[in-house]
């Protein structure tokens, strides 16, 4: 195996084997750290949310254990999300092409993709989910620290205790909404999407269909952003 193959996996673009690298190894690792830590916090968070779901804490080791790990894995989720923010924030800014795409999103929902205008590396929905998670992570971490150290908030500042509850629950519900759609689209709806975040590669046909402008850019041999 030549070393060029190892290095090629760190750059998005056309690969020697004819596939297109959509996500680098580093991007995939951080995505999955964020995904697994979020899933744990979602699972244990739902246990704390409703008595009818408290069994969820039991099956992952019990209530005290869930309460101990939830904030720490929450911090890991925020850290990996912060890293994804640093590398994806420019790719995720909304462009005029996205606005044109958004206006025809009904065709996307109905799988009539031939009627959609071409777009770059990420579509409008992906970008929306990205910013939902970035701002959601910020809100969850700040309010989560308030819940974690609730007794350290002085009695005269107790409105902060209540605000922490309100923000944590609200932010959690919004991210759960996005998460349901994200998991559905990534696993069941958009064929080829799940393998791309596992092994990193998509086929040229896939890239051409879903991200035409990005595909053109990749085929020109350039990985520069537009």
């Amino acid at each position: 195996m030549s070393t060029s193959h190892i290095f090629s996996s760190s750059r998005v673009g056309l690969q020697p084997d004819g596939g297109i690298l959509r996500y680098t190894l580093s991007e995939r690792v951080h995505h999955w750290v964020a995904a697994i830590t979020y899933a744990y916090c979602l699972w244990t968070g739902l246990a704390f949310w409703s008595p009818y779901l408290f069994w969820m804490a039991i099956v992952v080791g019990g209530g005290p254990s869930a309460r101990f790990w939830h904030p720490w894995l929450g911090l890991a989720f925020a850290a990996s999300t912060g890293w994804l923010y640093l590398i994806w924030r420019r790719d995720m800014s909304i462009t005029p092409e996205d606005i044109a795409w958004k206006d025809k999103v009904e065709y996307y929902i109905r799988n009539e993709d031939e009627n959609l205008p071409p777009i770059w590396r990420f579509n409008w929905g992906q970008k929306l989910y990205f910013w939902l998670i970035v701002y959601g992570a910020i809100a969850l971490v700040i309010s989560g620290v308030g819940l974690w150290f609730v007794e350290s908030i002085p009695w005269s500042w107790r409105w902060l205790r209540y605000l922490s509850v309100a923000i944590h629950v609200t932010a959690a519900l919004f991210t759960i909404g996005g998460f349901i759609i994200h998991v559905y689209m990534g696993t069941a709806m958009v064929r080829g999407g799940f393998t791309s975040i596992i092994r990193g590669e998509v086929s040229p046909a896939w890239a051409r269909m879903h991200h035409r402008l990005w595909y053109n850019q990749v085929m020109k041999g350039s990985t520069d952003r537009k």
């Binding site: 209530g63 069941a188 709806m189 064929r191 086929s203």
Partner: protein, 298 residues
């Protein structure tokens, strides 16, 4: 304490009904604290430590007679000392025995997510069951009196038990037993309310405390600890005793309507994506022979 006991009427974080609730009858128990006859001797603080097996911990001096600023996980009973200037310019030293109020509608129990970590007995005592406590601190947000405290070593919450162990054996709480002035009384809620009202009337009629009255706040359904105050219109003067305590409205919303809104939204989301799949199905790359593009296809 087992959840199966027939003496429990409310269980925190509990899915479904409360087994045995209403099977046995019990009198509502109540502590009466007459702040007008408290001399600040702190015998109740010591008795509480002794009965519950705690050693005397480090105190915090803040230029008052008070032992420490607020109760701790292993210090459940604290006399709060407050200098109060009356309308005529004279000074009063107000002394109030601070502790869990044993609310009829406990905010701690409403906020608690752990099954059976907080229970309310038929006699009105609200008790923490540390074996079931997960140490989340939600009870801290739910309590309108700033009472539950966290032990960071065992990761469990603690507070006054109203000596539920003594009361179940027909004894009065340790603090009551130790009080040398008769400022503390223990009995049924009816008897204590009667005694408290009688004392308040005496203060109004014979001692010139026109605003004397009984503190038994309706916002939490009444409490298992009631106070006789010289001035019932100004409970804050007694060291942050809230004028109209109730479960914080955010906690009420969180544990009430938010639960339904959130559950419907989550279930709606799951139904939504399922319906999308059934109606429109997967998004395929037309004509592609690449295995990645045909995952799950036959």
């Amino acid at each position: 304490m087992s959840q199966a006991t027939l003496n429990i009427v409310k269980i925190s974080g509990h899915a479904g009904s409360v087994p045995g609730a209403g099977v046995e009858r019990a009198e509502q128990v109540c502590k009466l604290v007459d702040t007008t006859t408290c001399i600040g001797c702190k015998a109740c603080e010591v008795a509480c430590l002794e009965w519950n097996g705690y050693t005397f911990t480090e105190t915090t001096f803040d230029n008052t007679y008070q032992t420490m600023p607020e109760t701790r996980w292993n210090y459940w009973n604290l006399i709060k000392f407050n200098e109060h200037e009356r309308e005529d310019g004279t000074m009063m030293l107000l002394m109030r025995k601070d502790q869990c109020m044993h609310c009829a509608e406990p905010g701690c129990l409403a906020a608690c997510p752990a099954d059976g970590a907080i229970v309310q007995y038929q006699n009105g005592i609200v008790d923490f069951q540390q074996a079931n406590c997960i140490g989340c601190g939600y009870c801290v947000s739910g309590c309108p009196f700033n009472i539950p405290k966290f032990n960071s070593e065992t990761k469990k919450m603690f507070k006054c038990t109203l000596c539920s162990d003594r009361v179940s054996q027909g004894l009065e709480p340790a603090c009551i037993k130790a009080c040398p002035t008769g400022c503390l009384h223990f009995g049924t809620k009816d008897d204590m309310s009667f005694l408290a009202e009688k004392r308040a009337r005496q203060l109004r009629d014979n001692y010139g405390f026109d605003k004397a009255g009984v503190y038994d706040p309706a916002g939490v359904g009444g409490t298992g600890v009631i106070y006789v105050l010289h001035d019932v219109t100004d409970p804050q003067a007694y060291g942050n005793l809230p004028k109209d305590p109730h479960i914080p409205w955010i906690v009420q919303f969180w544990k009430g309507p938010a639960k339904w809104i959130g559950n419907l939204a989550m279930i709606g989301g799951l139904i939504g994506v399922t319906m999308h799949y059934l109606r429109w199905g997967p998004k395929r790359v037309e004509g592609s022979a690449h295995p990645n593009d045909n995952l799950g296809e036959h």
